[in-house]
Amino acid sequence: MSADNNTILVVGGGMSGLTAAIEAAEAGAQVIIAEKEPYLGGRVAQLHRYFPKLCPPTCGLEIQFRRIRENPRITFHTMAEVTQVTGSAGEFEVTIQVKPRCVNDRCVACNACAEACPAWRVNDFNFGLDKTKAAYLPFDMAFPQKYVIDMSSCTGDCGQKCLEACKYEAIDLNMQPQTHTYQVGSIVLAGGWELYDTSKVETLGKGQVNNVITNMQMERLAASNGPTGGKILRPSDSQPPKKVAFVQCAGSRDENHLPYCSYICCMASLKQVTYLREQDPEAEATVFYIDLRTPGRYEQFMWKVRDDEKVRLIRGKVAKIEQAPGTDNVVVTVEDTVHGRRLKETFDMVVLAAGMVPSTKYHPFALPLSYTPEGFIIPELLPDGVYAVASMKSPLDVMKSNEDATGAALKSLISLSRR
């Protein structure tokens, strides 16, 4: 390893970014992680479980955080974005802007500021299903365990109640953005993804029809640290749904929306069927799919769900989703292509399997890169010393993201040692 510049910048602190960073650090590099949220863990932290073993994601994340705690070669910045990159492989200069958290390192997560704060904000961690105060902890297992003050939701006129309530001098309402500049040898882009906005698919009723939610909202409902303490309840009346439809390819594999396939939504919906069935052995689940994509060893996971008597897997494109008149129930119209007929059925709740949009679609990186029309990075055209991981190139599941990120760690190390 060259003594010159032994530092790698990892943009994004989700599972892929953490993996790339930690693996590289454990192989000897110095690593800097820049994460735009106030916590590390990205989308994985928002999942209830992942397949095929249905493990809790905080378990995998906990190992990562322990490795970070024990490794002096890793530095991370949250609420950080990379605003400028100059130079080339082996000698990049990167500028990271850190937004003010308005809470400093003295924070002990006692919750006093949140209790005192009178202002509310939409909870993006729970995909809008509930609210938090403007002073909040992103979620219970948030790492770092520090509160945040969302200044855009702060009304500014309560007399600084948070400051008053804090006994640890941890609130700093005048905190300024900070700029950090680093010399790094290589860069790993692990910016992750956002959920496609299914309200753009008019036939699917998102935002118009009650009790139509997204797959990520379903994850949050099922999670013990979610808005309902882990109970799957439908939004309109907080009742547990007895009959749920899962609509695959909601806005995916569609020329008018996302032409590609997001890889894991079939498995994710099947997994969510198990959540529902575990909560209520009487509940029924129906999955409407075009192709059931459960590749490799996931096939056997699919069999377990398929063999559940109260689960139906129906091949059919969902043509329309509407409210059942006078109720909060949802009517789904489907083309059952195998039997050549149209189905119309009423459900208590519908879950749309929405696709993954790379974060670069709307927030390109601060260096000139080549993107596909859908916003994915074209890896063959990346400049030397810059690597893209996982969903930056193509939608992937957590397992393959980890593999890809481990490989990216090696590629970025090679960039350091080459002269």
Binding site: G229, G296, Q300
Partner: protein
């Protein structure tokens, strides 16, 4: 750190509500008089810069054993970092302040017991001194398999300046990737077939100075330990032994035996029913013809999932055959623009960007696609073939006629039939428990995908999971990184994943060893071998420091610098156990004393999460983290019960096929040991139910109060320990 050198200090934090719930004067008494920690200080906020400065001052003046009685070790880790000192963290905040009732006098007793426990621990714990190997370690990466994954692994390890030995059993490098006519698209715009990327890789490998290539070579034996592997290779009958540090197993796959598909799919009944591999060979030679009469076919039927996704053949899906068959459909069409290619599928699996290729293929009017559950393929009159199917998009039961039928058969890993590695491990020559993955050398952890349970050996590519070439090449790079990490860590006496920071190592007191070999059999990683006399010994470089051996040993001879049977035993024995003599007149029952041994990986964070959510626990239970439930030693039960403790609750990760245990077998072994214990407990009049293991996931913090309450209730039902006070 020898006893004489130790200078203790205990720092009691009053912040985060701890001060409101406890009597600090009494805590200080326990710390000084009972735990014998020479210096005891309090502060309103121990993590504040001012308090930390105070501690650093004390350290500068000679304190080297620091007990921070404040918050969980999982937080404020940058703050409570005192290089060169032994630092113990006691989370009074989570374990007491946030989870206990301030009005209950048992709360104070709980905190005082914790101080006793951690006071006992800090006396015995030592700073790790990394293991130093006498020999110099090899950093050579051995790559077994010269296909897509192996070539990739070799190249990237070599480019990172590691010497590589690449071993390939065939005469030529390239594996199945080199047998392709064209490859499915892997680069933008993802719609066009490409030249197989393997050919470029072969050239790069041949040009790379750091890679030594052996062809016509297999691995006869892999002996030694990571860093010092002595691998015997056989090239055309002559043997040679090389030294390597770590291994990437990229031995690939072979096609499922199509002869097994004679019944349903008619393989063997006609030469015109072929496999996708045979189709690829024809395409590569530029002649797609019917094997029977050499004529160019006008209609070719592709039957997907032939002998796959089928409990009677391969229960899994081979990932790439959908895309590969679509590709071959294009071959047929390009060779004969009049031909029709019919693709009969159960599901078309072209995930991610491959979807764009699927769309592209659909624009070819000569490619016909239908969902179909193929029920039979058989010869038909006129030298044709008929394919019967149900549940199709064309109608319920159909029969199609074709000139040629291509069966997309599955991929079977090389490790199905033979160990490949031929490891010299007492536990066996191959990788363990591959039935979990139908023979693939896969990992049961999505968070550590390259884990094989054999240290410094990482599987990649088709031998690990059914995958296409592009994925296999990426996989090889990841496995190469893990191999590099392994040699670098072992070189400095550090463990590898999942305790990648750990510089302790198992140091057994061999004089007391009775060679029962429980450690040897139970080690999930096969790190312990036996010598000619049958005495176990460690191959330290294989060790993951989980402590399963420590838990298994009935003589308690295994110790780590900061973790041993004696350290935990001392903590258990330090409790103050009230007896009837301590009852005041108005009390009826002796308060119970219960120990909770918890896995530090999942159960302990769950405790923290419960605490953050301000859930309440019974004050009877004292928690103590373990590296893994596998390190649970049965002697702790007698230690605890002889002290008068009433019950012991073990909280650890799930075991079984979907195991969560980071060390694969730890929690399962703990459960197994407990089952041996129940009879003894019953005979002693103690009752088996006094010791129970509960499986808990890290996210199940909300279940903890009930788990604890139920256990306490059961112990109350059984009654206090009859040996209390004896």
């Amino acid at each position: 750190m020898a006893m004489e050198e130790r200078k203790y200090a205990c720092y009691l934090c009053k912040g985060c509500g701890i001060g409101e719930v406890l009597n600090f004067a009494d805590l200080a008494k326990v710390a000084t008089r009972e735990a014998k920690l020479g210096l005891v200080k309090e502060h309103d906020c121990m993590c504040s810069p001012e308090a930390l400065e105070m501690i650093r001052q004390d350290v500068a003046e000679g304190v080297n054993c620091v007990l921070i009685a404040a918050c969980s070790p999982r937080v404020k880790f940058e703050e409570f970092d005192f290089p060169g000192c032994i630092v113990e963290r006691l989370g009074l905040r989570e374990l007491v302040a946030w989870t206990q009732d301030p009005e209950n006098k048992e709360t104070q007793a709980l905190a005082e017991d914790y101080l006793r426990m951690y006071g006992a621990k800090i006396k015995k714990t030592n700073l790790p001194e990394p293991y130093k190997f006498e020999e110099e370690l090899s950093k050579t990466i051995l790559v077994i398999g010269g296909g897509a994954a192996g070539l990739s692994a070799a190249l990237f390890a070599a480019r990172n300046n590691y010497p590589v030995v690449l071993v390939e059993k065939e005469a030529e490098l390239g594996g199945y990737g080199a047998k392709l006519h064209r490859a499915t698209p892997t680069s933008y715009p993802y719609t066009q077939m490409q030249e197989s990327p393997v050919f470029a890789k072969i050239k790069e490998v041949q040009a790379e100075a750091n890679i030594q290539v052996y062809t016509n070579t297999t691995v006869v034996k892999t002996a030694g330990q990571p860093g010092f592997l002595d691998v015997t290779l056989n090239t055309n009958g002559s043997e040679e032994t090389i030294r390597a540090g770590a291994v990437v197993l990229a031995a690939g796959w072979k096609p499922y035996d199509a002869a097994k598909l004679a019944d349903k799919f008619g393989y063997g009944a006609s030469p015109d029913i072929i496999t996708s591999l045979q189709m690829e060979e024809m395409a590569k030679q530029g002649k797609i013809v019917r094997p029977s009469d050499g004529k160019v076919p006008e209609s070719v039927a592709f039957v997907l999932c032939a002998g796959q996704r089928d409990p009677e053949h391969l229960p899994y899906c081979s990932d790439i055959c959908c895309a590969s068959s679509l590709k071959q459909a294009l071959y047929v069409r390009q060779a004969n623009p009049n031909a029709t290619a019919m693709v009969l599928y159960r599901d078309i699996r072209t995930p991610g960007q491959l979807e764009l290729f699927y769309k592209e293929v659909q624009t070819d009017p000569g490619v016909m696609l239908t969902k179909a559950d193929v029920t039979k393929v058989a010869p038909a009159p006129g030298g044709k073939l008929k394919v019967a199917a149900k549940d199709t998009l064309l109608g319920d039961n159909i029969e199609l006629e074709a000139d040629l039928v291509v069966l997309a058969t599955g991929m079977v890993p090389a490790t199905t039939d033979e160990p490949v590695l031929n490891l010299e491990y007492r536990q066996g020559p191959g990788l363990p428990d591959l039935e979990l993955f139908t023979g693939f050398a896969d990992s049961n952890f999505i968070c550590f995908p390259y884990e094989t349970r054999r240290t410094a050996i990482y599987a990649a590519g088709g031998v690990r999971q059914a995958m296409g070439m592009a994925m296999a090449m990426d996989d090889g790079v990841g496995a190469a990184l893990k191999a590099i990490q392994a040699v670098e860590h072992i070189a400095v006496g550090m463990a590898v994943h999942p305790r990648a920071w750990d510089e302790t190592f198992p140091d057994p007191i061999m004089q007391r060893c009775t060679s029962c070999k429980r450690c040897t059999e139970e080690c999930p990683f096969g790190a312990i071998e036996e010598d000619e006399k049958g005495t176990p010994f460690y191959k330290i470089a294989r060790c993951r420091r989980c402590g399963t051996c420590m838990g298994a040993c009935p003589e308690r001879i295994v110790n780590f610098a900061d973790y041993s049977v004696d350290i935990v035993g001392s903590m258990l024995k330090s409790l103050e156990v009230p007896t009837e003599d301590d009852l005041e007149d108005d009390e009826e029952e002796v308060p119970l004393r219960i120990l909770g041994l918890v896995c530090e990986n999942d159960a302990y964070p769950a405790l923290d999460a419960a605490a953050l959510n301000k859930l309440k626990f019974s004050p009877m239970i004292r928690f103590l983290p373990l590296r893994c439930m596998g390190s649970f030693n049965l002697v702790w039960v007698s230690d605890a019960f002889s002290r008068g403790v009433d019950g012991m609750l073990l909280l650890g990760c799930k075991y079984g096929d979907d195991y969560q245990c980071h060390f694969a077998k730890g929690s399962e072994l703990c459960n197994y040991r407990l089952s041996k214990l129940s009879e003894t407990l019953d005979k002693l009049g103690l009752e088996a139910d006094r010791v129970q293991q509960v499986q808990i996931a890290i996210s199940e913090f909300d279940k903890l109060p009930k788990i604890i309450d139920d256990f306490v209730a059961r112990v109350q039902e059984i009654g206090p320990n009859p040996f209390k006070g004896m």
